[in-house]
């Protein structure tokens, strides 16, 4: 019955050439769709193959004995009779693999960089979006792009060669390379990120908001501070979160300027060792497949997970600000 119906409908017969063309179109569309999977595949492969090398820590009894979760995160007694401590010393007779000094190091450098980069980046963006004359603003953006284009190894070099000496002389720090130097070097790398995203969300605020505020008698700064800034708040928060993610993952600057000593202390003038720099510094000399090797990959998994969460938060907030502004403006 069904079949008979389609037969009587007499679909226009396509010529052989047309059918070939149709087939070719389908093949091309299919190929392009297949290529689009590459990004997803890359992300999945990254997590699979970084996690795979870390998996030994949880599966092999030998590795679990040497570097189990409790050894990584709880205080350990290194020698009998001594108090338990957090020590990162993976290459010694008794490997000590506490990750706490690395967390502290990462947090210290990140804290310094955020303390500097957030106000500078956000205020700079506010200046560019609200106060700067148009000429200056059009100059400011490419300059920041230029700053963003500096390779991190150059920033690390600058922190190591110039900032370290200057800061030691002015602040009177004990060590030349420390959390402050590394954090300030790091700030140079994340300021452009924060500036760009914050500036984007500030300029996304519709003109009508500003006009309404000015019409009500508010001064330009009141408009900028009390109307535009709050309207762009989710986007600014996203900018800060994105900068935070970059700061946690950035490697070369910290590797070069932090001193690379895994010290547990509250003093920002001490040398530190971060999670990312530890991978960079130790992966070259490690025995493939050893517990130490697996730990370095496990650090990689942690970095991936941290930044993944931060990125998802940031992109949700950026979407939110766009939705809120365009939704209420139209």
């Amino acid at each position: 019955m069904q079949q008979g119906l389609t037969e009587t409908m007499a679909v226009p017969r396509l010529s052989a050439a047309a059918r070939r063309r149709q087939l070719r179109e389908k093949v091309i569309a299919g190929f392009i769709t297949l290529m689009a999977f590459t990004g997803i595949a890359a992300l999945l492969l990254i997590i699979i193959f970084v996690a795979k090398e870390a998996l030994a820590l949880f599966l092999e009894p030998e590795a679990r004995h040497e570097a189990g979760l409790s050894k990584m995160f709880l205080p350990q007694v290194a020698r009998q009779g001594r108090p338990a401590t957090f020590t990162w010393q993976p290459v010694s007779n008794i490997p000590k693999v506490s990750m706490i000094p690395l967390f502290i190091g990462t947090l210290k450098t990140t804290a310094v960089s955020m303390l500097v980069a957030v106000p500078v980046g956000v205020f700079g963006a506010l200046y560019a979006a609200e106060f700067a004359p148009r000429r200056l603003r059009e100059l400011l953006k490419p300059v920041i792009e230029l700053l963003a284009g500096i390779p991190s190894v150059v920033l690390g070099f600058f922190a190591l060669m110039v900032m370290a000496t200057f800061l030691q002389e002015t602040l009177g720090l004990n060590t030349r390379l420390n959390a402050v130097v590394a954090g300030l070097g790091l700030a140079l790398a994340i300021v452009p990120v924060i500036f760009t995203v914050a500036e984007d969300s500030l300029t996304a605020v519709p003109r009508s908001y500003r006009e309404a505020s000015l019409a009500l008698g508010a001064t330009p700064w009141e408009t900028a501070w009390k109307v535009v800034l709050p309207a762009a708040a989710p986007g600014i928060l996203a900018a800060c979160v994105l900068g935070f993610g970059r700061a946690i993952g950035e490697t070369m600057i910290i590797l070069m300027a932090s001193g690379n000593a895994a010290i547990v202390s509250a003093d920002f003038g001490d040398s530190v060792r971060s999670l990312s720099a530890t991978i960079a510094a130790e992966m070259g000399e490690v025995v493939v497949g050893s517990p130490h090797y697996s730990i370095l990959f496990f650090i990689g998994v942690q970095l991936f997970v941290f930044t993944f969460i931060l990125n998802m938060l940031a992109s949700t907030w950026t979407k939110k600000v766009i939705k809120r502004l365009t939704g209420s403006a139209s």
Binding site: A36, F37, L140, E145, G149
Partner: protein, 303 residues
């Protein structure tokens, strides 16, 4: 609040935010000035054309320049087709609210935020230990041939890292091609792929080139991903095979800055290397900016 004090607060806020902006510009100027003043005198033809000598305390950076160029060339060849076609899918083929397109976008956003050192781990775990070992087994190499750090693996790692840059800028370029061009082409009886190949992609070419240049400038400066996927401390010879290790400007900078036996002696070399690296990335960024502004002007003139 009185009007006078409102104005005073306004002036203070403007000054404060202006200072923040000035601080960023000032830091950039300071870095450039420092590198130029200390480096410019040492960038000579011999420096650019000789390999390092005297245990890195003399000679030049020729192998590092060539290594960086070869690395980024291989990377570009690998990333451009994939990146451009992914963007083509997102903008030309996918339905606006398609689930796959949404997943691709999420993946791209996250790929852009993965720390560069994690890409290095991925390159080691996937390309060298998985693909390389597999190739050695299949091709019957007795000793390690593919399963070791080399320029191919390093450039593929960088290709994955720069994929988001290419996708995002290509999509922007596709968006700039007016819809009329597509509908006109389709109305003349061209198929979708003919429209794509003869109308859309040529129209988007400048934007796609911008993306390529940006990817190159980003890839050329990254050091963390190549630390254990192929960069070498010192090699007098240029890489001759796809599995050779190579010297790299950024890695060379790192080595000179942190592992030099005599800091004062290597200082001029170090500054000169940094200057070359900076000039290279700035030149690339400048090219990208020029292409972009020229196409924008052209697009503005056409309408």
């Amino acid at each position: 609040m009185k009007y006078a004090s409102r104005r005073a607060v306004g002036l203070a806020l403007t000054t404060l935010t202006g200072l923040a902006a000035f601080l960023m510009v000032g830091m950039l100027a300071l870095i450039l000035l420092d590198v130029f003043v200390n480096g410019a005198g040492h960038v000579t033809w011999t420096f650019l054309s000789q390999p390092p000598s005297d245990g890195m305390m003399g000679g030049g950076i020729f192998p590092a320049i060539i290594g960086t160029a070869m690395l980024t060339l291989l990377m570009t060849v690998a990333v451009m087709p994939v990146g451009v076609l992914t963007a083509v899918y997102l903008h030309e083929y996918a339905a606006p609210d398609s689930r796959l397109a949404r997943w691709v976008r999420v993946a791209v956003v996250n790929l852009a935020g993965v720390p560069s050192i994690v890409f290095g781990l991925f390159g080691l775990g996937f390309f060298i230990l998985f693909v390389g070992r597999g190739m050695d087994r299949v091709l019957g190499h007795e000793e390690l041939y593919w399963a070791q750090p080399g320029i191919l693996w390093a450039s593929l790692t960088l290709a994955v890292l720069t994929l988001p840059v290419v996708i995002v800028s290509t999509e922007e370029a596709l968006r700039a091609v007016p819809m009329d061009h597509r509908t006109a082409s389709l109305a003349l009886g061209a198929t979708q792929s003919q429209t794509l190949g003869r109308v859309v992609l040529p129209g988007a070419l400048p934007g796609i080139l911008t993306g390529a240049v940006l990817a190159i400038s980003r890839g050329a400066g990254e050091v963390a991903p190549i630390l254990f996927t192929g960069a070498a401390y010192f090699l007098p010879d240029l890489p001759s095979r796809l599995n050779s290790q190579f010297m790299h400007l950024g890695y060379h900078t790192y080595v000179l800055a942190t592992q030099s036996p005599d800091v004062e002696a290597t200082r001029p070399l170090l500054y000169a290397t940094v200057l070359v690296l900076l000039l290279l990335t700035f030149a690339l960024n400048l090219v990208a900016v020029i292409i972009r502004t020229r196409t924008r002007r052209k697009a503005a003139g056409a309408h």
